[in-house]
Point group: none
Chain length 198, copies 4
């Protein structure tokens, strides 16, 4: 009997090692060799779990989207402004690990590498998030809770862009914890006043 291996666990381990390697060297300077080293296995072994660098990258992409969704999607219908703002706050609080991978993901999924589908996946993903916000805004408009002049559809999408902007800047630039907290606070206050009835 050969070594018994949890293949799924191995895949996860390799993906983690890849991310570590990417952090160390940047995506493009990370070779399969370096990933293998980081994972403590041989180059050839890598190919037993991911048949190409492309596939490995897609594995990371999937993990990335899953993580993003876990952070962003739980925004269920909010029945008050405060509930909504609380949801938004959740979306803006990202841990250090996720933060540091942001530039990596941008590099990894930039145009020359996407098989055309990455951008579309992102687009779909953000549209889904936007839909959640649209529903929330519309619900609150319909219940006369927020400003009636709001165009839920348009605001939903642009709102997502703005949130993403905040998160991206946190990822790319090292805001200290305190600064970021103030920034989030100000943004939330701005949003709150911006959608409020008066």
């Amino acid at each position: 009997m050969p070594k018994i291996v949890d293949k799924e666990q191995m895949k996860v381990d390799i993906l983690k090692a890849s991310l570590n390697a990417f952090l160390k060297y940047g995506f493009h300077k990370t070779t399969m060799e370096k990933i293998a080293k980081e994972a403590g296995i041989a180059k050839g072994t890598l190919y037993l779990y991911f048949s190409s660098k492309e596939e490995l990258t897609q594995g990371i992409s999937q993990a990335h989207f899953a993580q993003l969704k876990a952070r962003l999607i739980p925004i269920q219908l909010a029945t008050s402004i405060d509930a909504l703002i609380t949801h938004v706050e959740q979306a803006l609080i990202i841990n250090d690990e996720e933060t540091q991978f942001i530039p990596i993901f941008f590099e990894a999924f930039s145009p020359s590498f996407h098989t055309g589908s990455f951008i579309e996946e992102y687009e779909t993903f953000f549209d889904e998030i936007a839909d959640v916000y649209r529903e929330n805004f519309q619900y609150l408009v319909d219940n006369h809770t927020i400003n009636p002049s709001i165009n839920s559809h348009a605001l939903g999408r642009v709102f997502v862009s703005m949130l993403d902007g905040i998160v991206l800047h946190k990822g790319f630039f090292n805001f200290d914890k305190e600064s970021y907290t103030s920034m989030v606070k100000e943004a939330l206050a701005l949003f709150k006043r911006g959608i409020d009835l008066n």
Copy 2:
């Protein structure tokens, strides 16, 4: 002396050609050969003007920042909310050419290529923009024109992030003109209500 002018012009021409090549092939699939072809010169000639691909990339970076500044910095002290909102609107209206380069810049200046300095350059750049907004917010707070609870410093920076987010999403995803117009309109309205006195 005229030679110097030619040399500078040549550099500019090469940078333009590079951008065209990047647009065609994506940054990473663009070889020095392709850039030379695009510029109508020989590969060796490229090296007479830029001593490495890194330097060429930095040249593009500088041009990029210059362009960004031209669009964003003109926000001079606004003495009214409407004046400020008008400035913001200017910042959000980007032409097709600039739009299409956004993904390219992201790819080109991603971590593995920056000699460490790209990110810092970006950071400095956005801080400068943030400062302009801070000044504006503070001026309007001091004049009791906008909500007094606003923390100008924090809002200035996060505001820049949000604006960048909107622009980035426009660059990465193909919003149709109409949608983007509505989005900008909603965002501006949100901002306006968000900073307004009441």
Copy 3:
């Protein structure tokens, strides 16, 4: 003792599986993995029976020669031209299975794989066949049955080359059954007239 029988049977089974794999993928694209799959065993098990790909290839080679000999060697001393021609005819009639392996054998036993010995094995083999024809020709010359000017030694060897040429072309190019039959018929007629007394 029964174990030995199993082991030998296993070797035969593996060789058969190899040939099937070679037919499917061509010799060079056939990996040990594919051979194992085809044989319904694990890759490691292969190595219990053949210590290397080289050895496995030699096993096939031996089987190949055995098959060739079975077809060609039975040419026992012919006492008449017609008897000889009948023998030749036997040598030229090869079944579909053997036909389809011809290109494979050529690929498998080509210079880069031979440890020097393949070519020599072939040479020896063809010399043996040639010897049989030499004997036949000489016998018929001595009995004044065929043309006395024939140099049995030289003709024996060149005759084998010609027969091999016919068989090889059948193996490499898809002659339809009818065409091949006519070709064999013409060749035999040519040989017959060529060695006949007048």
Copy 4:
């Protein structure tokens, strides 16, 4: 101005070097690196002239067919048996260089490497040669110069197979000059008697 190179000559030189390398190492053990070394250039330079190993191999193939044609095709309509036999003799006399490449060609163009087309190219090639022989036989039959029972069509094709067999055996096995001369002599005599009127 860069080095001025005769590109066509360079291609020819590289093809020659390839053949030398193939002779030394066998086709499959010959890497692009070894070919480059043999040609006295760098690996990368190879790719300036042949964009892949496949293309290089095809270059060799073409040269091979050109050489074969030069030796075999000149068989113009022969108006007598002796003329025909002389032509056949020409076809069987191959120089040492050509001889030694025969195994190489077989290896290089074996099934797993042919893009499907090699075998067909060969088939077409031999069919062309066969046509020339068919014409010759038919002409001589029509003029009552050779045996009227001959089926020119079938004989033409099988004749080519036999000649190829002789040449192949010369290529694969080292017949000494004297032996080969006797063999050719016997073969020609056999053919002559075989097609003769009586």
